[in-house]
Symmetry: none
Subunit: 204 residues, 4 copies
DNA sequence: GATGAATGAGCGTTCATTCAT
DNA sequence: AATGAATGAACGCTCATTCAT
């Protein structure tokens, strides 16, 4: 077994188990059995379970960024670029449920155990949205007061969609593709609205 | 100990533990210890752990509905009604994180174990949004092709916000109240947009 | 609920549960639920689980005796009487599996907790066999050195049959009725044999 | 601790506990404590409690067969061979109460959880009896219509003896060795009788 | 680089039983 | 005569992890 092949297999099998059996179904024991190695071997490549998760998360963030960014420069129109970003975000989430869940859904109570490094990596993706908003705002097609806030808002909308779909929480009778289309349409459209001037806050 | 006080205490403590230690932190043993009773006692009031969760979920759905619906009829303007609903949904989620998580975040893989009855109750709340959309569409202030889809879209946006805030996934430097205000503003605004006629679907 | 009706119902339900769910399936909790009373109520009529079992055993021994003895005096021929006893013993066992198991099969390791009183009652039944042997020996049709030993031997043979059938341990392809007939035939026949004179013992 | 010594110790201790404390006394915890290891360790060698039992049963069946079969070919006379088999069966049962109970007495309601493989192994032993009967019938010393039925009948008689002795259900004043001798004598003798021709069945 | 052996802590759950009312 | 409330002990089992080799 060459160098780090096993490490790769562990990560891949972990993702597979994660999506097939859920978080609680991913135990070190089962993982070891699935790759055909002893449980101890996993600890040669990962300090502990958290570490393994950490690596998966970073990988996921990287993949998400690449998925979002690929050929993005070729889309000059800010609106079309934002729309493409929305579509890509959702398709990434739905096609990589294990990465998505581990990045944004699972065990938030323990997320504090993970270094803040994530956020830096995650922000790279968020900046793609922010950049489109920035460009669009300059051109007058979008109206943002603070593009970093608005980018978070867009992320919020898209995350709502992906997480509800992955968790099967939407009404089964809902037509999924028209639902997703409307999510994207309204998300993009919402950026075209001039925000009111008022400054009242909602919550302390 | 009178009547069913203990049952109430169990439910309350379960909610508390849930938000403090997460799902895996809510074990029957810890719960028992927290209320100062033996683990066995819990089984006098709940058939098993699933049953306890089931009760909490139903309670949460009921409370959410009441929170959304209180005095809603007194708001004649559909837009103001929709805005109120959005504000209330978010404030409920942030003020009742344990109910929110158990209803909409936790262990989705196991949610199939719970009867479909939930969804009926949950849909009552969704219908409040749908009704506002319906009225607004009739008045021409909103533009919806299918209010039940659009209601789901709104829910999607709001759920994205609540779940990201509860999971502390947003940039710490983000001003929360302006973020939340923008979420609500754009959510409401997005309904004012006429949807394009095109029928292309996003995902197979 | 008059006097001791409940006591009777408890005993009957216990027998029912015993045969339907086995020994471990008979818990005080389930028993209480089955009769529609609280678990505590059982303790009004029986000191504890052992006591309940004790009563069932004594009942079973009594019923077995009656089943064996009914109209037995009307059978003058010792051989026919012995044959009748064998048939009755087996039919009682197969038709009252719960009594049979509780009397002769279940938890022998704990039988020491039960008073020796059983044996007195049980011996009454054994004596019916012994009497037939005694009469048959006097008439020369049976050959017994010590009828109490031979009666135990007969019981041994019959018990083997009942316990194997109740436990479903016999080959499923075995025709049960010809098997049982042969058991009885050979049991009765074995008593017709003159025992050898030798006195060597088998086991220390 | 070399190789699989612990596995062996677990099995041996299980047998010991089984006979000393009965089936319910054999818990994984007690077993672990008895061998001075943690309960978890048992699961390194056995998948679960059923598996452990399964292994013990197979071991017992194998040992019983060897005990019955050893040097059996050296006994040409079918009658002497049958007698030897009877003596050996009983001595095995009395000298290996734990194997005997786990094979033929304990928790019959759960025996369905164990694969049918047992029965194949158990039948090997039964066939030794059948063979002796077959040979004896050919020589005219035994009279059997169907040797497989008659072999089951013999097993029945012997099992009755072993199980009653192990359960201490026989009258304490009974002389055990003359009782056992008579069991064997009459069991063998019973095979010498020509069965009647009648075909009436006992039980529907 | 990889493993076998082992564990402490914890899980959800069931049990027979007691006690005050 | 009957109950509701409560419990300590035990059950089979799984977990992430360690350590010596």
């Amino acid at each position: 077994m060459g160098e780090h092949d096993l490490r790769r297999r562990i990560l891949d099998e972990a993702r597979y188990l994660l999506v097939r059996e859920g978080y609680s179904g991913l135990s070190m024991r089962k993982l070891a059995q699935a790759i055909g190695y002893s449980a101890t071997s996993i600890y040669l490549y990962f300090k502990n379970k958290d570490d393994l998760f950490h690596v998966l998360i970073l990988e996921g963030l990287e993949k998400l960024y690449e998925h979002l960014n690929r050929g993005l420069d070729g889309i000059p129109s800010p609106e079309q670029r934002l729309r493409a970003l929305c579509e890509r975000y959702i398709s990434f989430g739905l096609e990589n449920p294990e990465y998505y869940e581990i990045m944004f859904v699972l065990h938030p109570e323990k997320s504090s155990r993970f270094p803040r490094e994530h956020y830096r990596r995650g922000r790279k993706s968020l900046n793609l949205f922010a950049q489109a908003l920035e460009d669009g705002t300059r051109e007058g097609v979008f109206h943002c007061r603070d593009v970093s806030v608005s980018a978070s808002v867009i992320w919020t909308f898209l995350h709502g969609a992906v997480s509800l779909v992955l968790a099967h929480r939407l009404d089964a009778r809902l037509d999924r593709s028209s639902y997703l289309k409307e999510v994207i349409d309204r998300t993009v459209a919402s950026m075209k609205f001039p925000l009111a001037v008022s400054n009242e806050s909602l919550n302390p």
